[in-house]
Symmetry: C2
Subunit: 740 residues, 2 copies
Amino acid sequence: MLNLTKKVAAIFLIASVFAMSSLGVNAKHPNLVTTSEDVQLMRDAINVEGRFATTYKKLKAQVDAQMQQPMAVPVPKDGGGGYTHERHKKNYQLMYNAGMIYQLSQDEKYADFVTDMLLQYANLYPNLPLHPARKMKSQNPGKFFWQSLNEAVWLVYTIQAYDLVYNALNASEIKKIEQELLKPVALFLSEGQPSTFNKVHNHGTWATAGVGMAGFVMNEPEWVEKALYDLQKSGKGGFLKQIEQLFSPQGYYNEGPYYQRYALFPFVTFAKAIENNQPERKIFEQRNGLLLKAINTTIQLSYNGLFFPINDAIKSKGIDTIELVHGVTIAYGLTGNTGYLDIAQQQDQIILSGDGLKVAKALDKKLATPYQFKSVAFGDGNDGKQGALVIMRSVTEDSDFNSTQTVLYKPAAQGLGHGHFDKLTWQFYDAGNEIVSDYGAARFLNVEAKFGGRYLPENETYAKQTVAHNTVVVDETTHFNENVEVGNANYPTLNYFETNNFGTVSSGKISTAYEGVELERTLALVNLPGLDNAVALDLFNVTSDDKHQLDLPLHYHGQLIETDFPLVGNTNSLKPVGAKNGYQHMWLKAQATPEQGLAKVTWLNENGRFYTQTSLVKGNESFLFTQLGANDPNFNLRNEHGFIRRVENTKQHKFISLLEPHGLYNPSKEFTLEAASRVSGLAFTEQDQLALIKIDIAERSYLVVINQAETDQKLTTEFKYNNKTLSLNGRLAVYELNNQ
Amino acid sequence: MLNLTKKVAAIFLIASVFAMSSLGVNAKHPNLVTTSEDVQLMRDAINVEGRFATTYKKLKAQVDAQMQQPMAVPVPKDGGGGYTHERHKKNYQLMYNAGMIYQLSQDEKYADFVTDMLLQYANLYPNLPLHPARKMKSQNPGKFFWQSLNEAVWLVYTIQAYDLVYNALNASEIKKIEQELLKPVALFLSEGQPSTFNKVHNHGTWATAGVGMAGFVMNEPEWVEKALYDLQKSGKGGFLKQIEQLFSPQGYYNEGPYYQRYALFPFVTFAKAIENNQPERKIFEQRNGLLLKAINTTIQLSYNGLFFPINDAIKSKGIDTIELVHGVTIAYGLTGNTGYLDIAQQQDQIILSGDGLKVAKALDKKLATPYQFKSVAFGDGNDGKQGALVIMRSVTEDSDFNSTQTVLYKPAAQGLGHGHFDKLTWQFYDAGNEIVSDYGAARFLNVEAKFGGRYLPENETYAKQTVAHNTVVVDETTHFNENVEVGNANYPTLNYFETNNFGTVSSGKISTAYEGVELERTLALVNLPGLDNAVALDLFNVTSDDKHQLDLPLHYHGQLIETDFPLVGNTNSLKPVGAKNGYQHMWLKAQATPEQGLAKVTWLNENGRFYTQTSLVKGNESFLFTQLGANDPNFNLRNEHGFIRRVENTKQHKFISLLEPHGLYNPSKEFTLEAASRVSGLAFTEQDQLALIKIDIAERSYLVVINQAETDQKLTTEFKYNNKTLSLNGRLAVYELNNQ
């Protein structure tokens, strides 16, 4: 078998030969994401009633309105969010849209508009210095924009706009626009900033996409080669290396879903242009079809339309994000898989492209079939072996993924600078809502009054801290002592993952988050026969060399309904739970130390479902009830609720609990069902490598068995329970016990 | 003109003559809300595809499933919420439904089922003592239920069920059911509890409705007479007196919308039965068509489908409540007004009745036209002169009432035991949401863990208190010293109300909420030409004999974004704002005393709109920022936010402010518009009876003039402003000023 370097070199060699031969002086226009063949079909479609024509008319009306406004190509001045920044962003979008309307309407006025704007840019560009608002130490300033990332995005759009209007241009216009604008920009973004262009990083993807596409349009095959293999054409950088490195083999992007959907866009755009210009490269087949996997994985990383909000994430971001609309459109175009149409339908946006036409027609014909959401462990890191992000869904083939119980479990890697210190955290979802929650990023995007709309200081002081998540904090300090580099260098191990008819189970561990402490967590989403809802089992084992204080927070959305143990409330005065590492932001509202046995906390979420966490305690766990908002003078934090289970001065502790959705609160229709937990018993024992959890719930008894063996070999085993011999074949099984 | 007593006596005389003659031994069945003529049409309709047939099939399937369960008519034991209570409630509903399915399907098994159950009830009833769970001091215990109110509701349903299956019964069944069940129950609820039956109160309405309908079905014309005119047939009580007394002339029910929709149901049900049996009474024309007005007013008392949550109210209750579904169905049946279909469409529930069929057919034919929501002052009290509940909507004929700016202003009466001490409070709505909020009732309906599902202690200690509302609190004490009787005996005066093209303005005052203090508030919802949204102006004037501390709270939903004055936050420790009267439940999060001029507070609601209240201050108003949750050991309160404007040691103060919706926050699509307030100036002056408010907003200047004259006579006037003579014709006008 070829090793990696040889494989890349081989691909490079073959691909180069193809590439050099396939570009000719008489390249057709347009021929990037949308081809001239596409355009023929699209022109027909705008005259037929349907989604495509509707979208076309809507965009045309929008472009018409924008073209009424005075054209502005201002001298660059402002940083992100400022006028010239936003204006240049709007301009490239408008040029692209107007170019597309020109192709479809064949009305020259749209081409003229784009040409005028391109000529204005061509007048402006040659004399532009580096952007005045650039960061002084930054290695990648732009000219139109303060950072070259935006400049690369500008080129990705603008080169497509140019391609769309090319046929309407005369020779002198072509000369001026290419020589004084597009080629200099492409050179600036490639030869002009080798460190970014060659970097195997999302910023590099935008640069290579822009430059490579410029190469196709302006017949610069060398640029395409450099975009694919780096400036030296070494294969150590460039687009193919980015495909190789920036995703896991299953198409998971290390920074998490919020950034995955962003990173995805230049990949699929450039890849589609490569596919149209150099189909012989089979770009979508690279690395076992990595790019399609990445699109698919982005979809899987969502619940009820919203992305799982791990790491720095704006929580309202979901599958209807424009980047994923492009992704799904291209994926459907390539595969014809009608499951993508289900997603496209939810996205409810049609792209005006050849693939967009295919999607629109298929949706018009009602060809969508349910997209299959799965229980899956996405290996993290470019080798897929740096832990994993685990999704467990109680979904069966005919259930609605928008309402099914779902567990997100994160024995995953740090995820670079936007990563949170939340090793082994989890979340729970039910009935369309986030139940056990993750704060996401502390940020009010683009709201000037809130720290200029950037990440808030509280993103560092709270949202990234371990206590802001649902995982163990040792001695009130944050994982890796809050050191990103250390975090990036260390990651959990995925012990195992299995999904079967009984449910899904996964286990992970890490011994580097704290010195001398091993954190090991096993989570299972279990179907109990006869119960409406799956329940979530959580076994979190902490072992350490020395004695420590261990905290396990659980953050929930909703209103506390009851605890089955007495609370001591701080009713007339509040103090923060701690002094630092996120604790300074949490008010301590009440506390309790339940006696040995079951300890229940029940809350009601906004949509009228009840949730009870039943913990199995030994009398040494304190429960601290918290609310966010301390040391927050500017009211930057959402005042969310949680409770922390705390054990002090211990070398070993196992946090055991069961989360159970139940009942319904419908004050509008005046009925309330099962407001109280149905769990009457919870017992934990171990037999060799087996964890046995007996659950008494809703007047039934179940035994859940988890096989904790170190390897996946020989999982078939027998064991005795209540004098009966039971057999287990796999990691997880559920046995219904006779009522006792 | 006849005085009231004479008028009632006259109606009584005429009506009695009609009544006695129209009941005969051969009364047709069914003939209450649904008649045998209705049934013929309904039987045809269930075979035609459409809403009616769909509803029928759904209900039939439901009844079929319920009939599979063992029949249970248990010996009464439990109070509200307990098993026997809930079982008997389900039984009457099931008998009614099965009776209706019998009429429509003509399948005897449904009649047999109802007959069986009625016979079981007839076996049980004769030996029943008063209910064991009755309150010992109560004057109105039931036998099936702990209170006779439920027993009356039982009769209203059961007599209809009996009427529906009557034709399937043999003589001995009729005899047993009537003699041993229905007649004794009717006598128990009338002669057996004169104080309730004769009472001009909602409980009396249920009793008279049940007994009166029983009179129609079992040919007891005397019962009908007594139901209409009281046991003595004096006209001092009974259904007609209830119509006369329990609503204002405009059909407003003194306890507020949450209880209005509940009170409405027996009124419209019995009235419809009267209409079908004794059309000559013209029951729906009584008191100038009061019952139709009451239905219509209930609809008007809503915003985006939810009732205004004043007084004790569950906030999720809205126009789709079953009581109003019946109301709207009957109203459409009587009037054929297609605006009701708009509401019926939103209710999305079809009643299986003659009128329900009309609604279903009309909706199938898409005959609905937009229901017209209005700006209106509903006079309070049975004479309509005990203050008013005022609704201001910025709606125009073609705007969507679900998203329009709306002000609710409450210079209304106390509203009995469920009333809140909130004279002159207000709320603001925008874009479908409650912006300046009312807590509603502190209650988790039927959630056992929350104080048995009843009103929580915090309903008394917080929700009813003045500080829980958006109106002035003097010296941290509650209006009327929290005395309901005093509250009921005193009410505000509505100074004026006017709605015109400039907007809507209303003013009210009260001098009895606090001794020696007059509270006078003028609110206006003003359209400023060229602005997208109406703005709300608030002028609250307090004058008193002695010096006091004055607090004006504003409760909002959402996240604080900024203040334009520096805040001093209690960031590391929280204390309640005060010790009692609701203040003990509010944490003091921050405070400030802005300098003379404008003081702005901006917040963002959950749906991404910004709101800024700009106050015109003189440097003597402190702002206290609060969050609910202090002294709440059981986590019973929602942790909502507010701020209190406070002036100390003063005999007179005018709180002046402007509320402005602005901008849009869309983190999902990554754009934010107008996050900052557009108000740059606010000035207040008076000229004689005119209040002149100059507003500088969005780079324009407006003058809003309110004519505060004591009477509505001679409102046309002229005045000078900036050396120009302007004329005013009415209470409110807006003048656009040249930019200055």
